[in-house]
Amino acid sequence: MKIPLSWLRDYVEIDLSLEELARRLTMAGLEVEEIRLVGLPMPPANPTGIPHEFNYTGLSWEPDKIVVAQIDEVMPHPNADRLVLCRLNDGTAEQTVLTGAPNLFEYKGRGPLPAPLKVAYAKEGARIYDGHQPGQVLTTLKRAKIRGIESYSMVCSEKELGISEEHEGIIILDADAPTGMPLVDYMGDAVLDISILPNMARNACVLGVAREVSALTGRPLRLPERRVPAIGPAVEGLARIEISEPEYNPRFTLGLIRGVKPQPSPYWVQRRLRLAGMRPINSIVDATNYVMLETCQPLHAFDYGVLTRRAGGKAPTILTRRAAPGEKLTTLDGVERSLDEFTVLVCDTAGALSIAGVMGGAESEVTEATTDVLLEGASWNFINIRRTVGAQKLNSEAAYRFARGVHPELAPYGVQLGLERMALWSGGQIAAGLVDAYPLPQADPEVALTAQDVTRALDIHLSLEEIAALLSRLGFTCRTEGETLYAKTPPNRLDIGEGLVGRADLIEEIARLVGFDNLPYTRLADPLPPPVEEDSTLWAEEHLRDVLAGLGLREVITFRMTSAEREARLYLPGSPELEAPYIRLANPISPERAVMRRSLLASVLEVLERNIRLRDRLAFFEIGPVFLPVEGQTLPDEAGRVVIALSGRREVPAWNEAASGNMDFYDLKGIIESLLDGLHIRGAEYEPAGSDIFHPGKCARVRLGEQVLGVFGELHPIVKARYDFLAAPVLAADLHLSALLEASPAGYTASSVSPYPPVLEDLAVVVDEAIPAGQVAEAIRQGGGRLLAGVRLFDIYRGEQIGPGKKSLAYNLTYQAPDRTLTDQDAAGIRQRIIRRLEQDLGARLRS
């Protein structure tokens, strides 16, 4: 909301600096986003050395160089038809000024003007905006010869002075502007651009902000006075109102003014409208907009003559109703609109006139020929207006306010102010009285509050009188009964609730007026609440992150929105995953981000792909959810996944070392084993797994008992080829977070280190090629029993010495007892048991 300072001053005295005013408003919840100077000087920097806290734009007018002047005569230019010469008085001397302003041509060659034209005059050296360049480009007025005539000064347009973009003609000031006065003193201004919070719709107008300033500074609020008496024949009987559904249209008020002449509004009115961001139209439409900017109450002016004609010469009846199925209306912007069943229309007996609260229709609009105006001030259900605005994709200043709520009490007030402005700016006579239908009166809550409530919420002690004084400044009517204050909501706001909600609303207002920064700081004194189980799950997950980072992996966090096509890269044809259902977005921001991911692996592989040429070794992990729709369940399962992706060198290459080999399946398996160790998960088993992602021979499933913890392996060559990867294998793991965390014991015990020396020996066994190494190690462990403290595979041999279809596995074995030194016989016994077990279970033989 753009609030011109000069307009604000109509209603409240302001003796704060611009900077201080903006700060007070901001700290009361009316955040000033920008201050646009329209003539006023830039405030001096703060003495503490802190420059302006607010963002200033605009132009300051130099008092000695830009003044009010009067044009006494407009003369033709001797050498140019499109230029005129003005005989002008700037208060000190007579000047000749050259201009091409079209709005002076009507005075050309008329001799001395009977009523001089008041203009904004910029002298040589004045800094103004260049009127001929787009946007705002500063320029300094210099002496020049134009078509043989010397030019050193200028009569200005609004654009040149930074008032608006208007550059069609020069500004013609109101006739009472004092010649010679610095223009900044006459109409220097600043516009505060205030962001209006949704619960402060009442402040989307100058009076609303003035009321806040009054409440914050204690200066009285001066409401606009009405001076034009309504002495025309009463409107009663000249128009009727029928409201079909009061819940959509609680109030509808009509006033009448006859004998108006639409014309350009006074300059100061046009200037204020422009500063507030609206375009002047004519003195009738301007009056409606002016009152809306002033009070928040939107008004709509009907040509009364047109309505009467549509009613067949009789007094028109205005009806409000919801649109009929299939009903259409052409709005002022020339668009024919299909209406929804919730759209409310303002109609007369001949048909629809406008979309209530949003936009008028063309036929009944005020034109240059209008003489009688029927003025509407109404209130509408704000939720319904919002729906209409959304459905019609149509917005307007009126709809902006109605959609946030306009109090019904403002309707007659706004109509009366509007009629008054019309009479002042367009002539005419105001009909006595109003036609006012108010079938659903607004119940303004009266809220009970005690001093203790305030103390309990805000930690400050205020007496009931002090509380009442604060609330009265905002217009609340307060009365006390015993220890309780009853504050009646003023008839300009809809944001105060009933009961406990109302109490919270009032406490907020008190806090705002006292100033949030003036309230004390305290620390939570309540006893600590009981533990939240979720907290320990989180920390288990964080521990897992530490384990993975400790294994040399970098954590990534990826987008959770993706597309089915992106994820389809991961699967071989025929994979059931390609048919799996997604959580789909109804309004995706792009086709690339249209569904919630089902695969975290797909996201992490994209990261690997993006970085593949940046480093010789890449190792990433992410822990996060995937989104799996479940039949009959409103919300999807958000299953946690742990994904690892590796590619490139095993070690970071160094200058003095030959490059290491590329990471392969066993590098990834080592990470998985270490990861399980980090979680103290014992007894996990690995088995070959089929997969539609991985190489069929280089893929394993890791299980703990019946619980599958995940799969990992080398990407299938077909899948890998779909990505921009290099020659090195791409390894990936897709693990289930909850399975890992559940498998991880809540506690674990450490065993003491035996002080007795271990017996170390090697054992090489020959087995059939088809027997997995895991089974051999398991047989060794079973055979060795509790005295076997370590089994480490150190070599695999295949070759002629052992014959085809066989392999030799060589192990370092460690035997150790916790309570004694093992003898040679002990060691031999263990070895014998191991060998026997290997022979029995696996048909193995010792390699000699």
């Binding site: 919070l197 907020e508 309230l519 939570l524 939240v532 964080e542 959580i583 109804a586 970071v652």
Partner: protein, 343 residues
């Protein structure tokens, strides 16, 4: 006395020869020549039996003296040569210490994780525990239960991603977690931290992305005041940004809190003097917060006549940006390794 004289001469000659010895091989040759089996002093010992009986002790003592002297001289020379050799090899093995080191493969945690943990830690010390809620939410939890009914003007504050399933959306903030936590724990008092990924349908820019992590704070209890809320948040802001930084609270509006506020912290770059980061104001907006709205308490299962509480929302992304001078928030989820390696 020929024997005694020749012993002395042999000693003098040997010591003189030792002076010229400069390496291990020469030293060994010297040892063989002067202390070996056929060295003069050794021969003197073997001739001892032929000497006159009365002279034998005298010659024997002299030979012993010479032998001992030569042995000592030999040991000293050997030691000196060893030290010299060590010195030479140390000099020869000198490295260029400015050559790059050999690095182990390095892992790391995402900056967002690191920032989140620091927030958990600070809030944890104040008694707040983590409680998580899903990304895909119901309209009821995300809006309606938070005092934002359908078509309420406040819905304009969030540009929402809806799913094709009616009434199901991507949460626009972590606040639905408030409802979930309250409904789980009411009527017990709670202090929880609600972290999570949130989604907004808006044009991504250096300051915001369509997906972002938010951390919400919620305390509900019997005696919680506006002052507690101010104090807790100021403590947090100062601990994460710096003890000396001032904070301020501006009134704001959120449907689920009342009073509602924005907390600003003094600009971490210019310390209030005004700079490009704070757009000259000297302040940075870091969180939206407020006292829990009575309607929300009610919806969460607490009696608003007895309970009060506060809530605050803050973005770890924003915190990290301010602390590490990260210019573009969008770098977070792109995961360029050159970005990740810096944290």
């Amino acid at each position: 006395m020929d024997e005694l004289q020749s012993l002395e001469q042999a000693q003098a000659a040997a010591l003189a020869a030792l002076e010229a010895v400069n390496d291990e091989a020469a030293l060994e040759a010297w040892r063989i020549a002067h202390l070996g089996r056929s060295a003069p002093v050794m021969l003197a010992f073997s001739r001892l039996g032929q000497a006159p009986k009365e002279l034998r002790p005298q010659i024997g003592q002299a030979a012993n003296r010479v032998k001992q002297a030569l042995e000592e001289a030999f040991a000293a020379r050997a030691q000196a040569l060893k030290e010299a050799a060590l010195q030479r090899s140390l000099t020869a093995e000198r490295l260029d210490v400015t050559l790059p080191g050999r690095r182990p493969a390095q892992g790391s945690l995402h900056i967002e994780t690191q920032t989140l943990r620091e927030m958990y830690r600070i809030f944890g010390e104040m008694g707040f525990q983590v409680f998580r809620a899903p990304d895909v939410e119901t309209d009821e939890n995300n809006f309606t239960a938070l005092n934002i009914p359908p078509y309420h003007p406040a819905r304009d504050m969030w540009d929402t991603f809806y799913t094709t399933n009616p009434g199901v959306l991507l949460r626009t903030h972590t606040s639905p977690g408030q409802i979930r936590a309250m409904r789980q724990f009411a009527p017990q008092p709670i202090r929880v931290v609600l972290p999570g990924m949130c989604y907004r349908y808006e044009q991504a820019s250096s300051r915001k992305d369509i997906q972002f992590t938010q951390v919400e704070l919620l305390a509900v209890g019997y005696h919680i005041t506006f002052g507690d809320f101010k104090g807790t948040l100021r403590d947090f802001a100062q601990r994460i940004f710096g003890e000396s930084l001032r904070t301020r609270l501006r009134p704001s509006y959120f449907p689920f809190t009342e009073p509602s506020a924005e907390m600003d912290v003094e600009c971490v770059i210019c310390r209030g003097k005004g700079c490009a980061l704070c757009k000259g104001s000297g302040w940075l907006e870091i969180m939206g917060c407020g006292m829990v709205h009575p309607t929300v308490l009610q919806n969460g299962g607490y009696d608003p006549a007895k309970f009060s509480g506060f809530a605050a929302g803050i973005g770890p992304g924003r915190v990290a940006m301010l602390r590490h001078a990260i210019e573009d928030l969008r770098a977070f989820y792109i995961n360029d390794v050159r970005f990740l390696e810096q944290f």
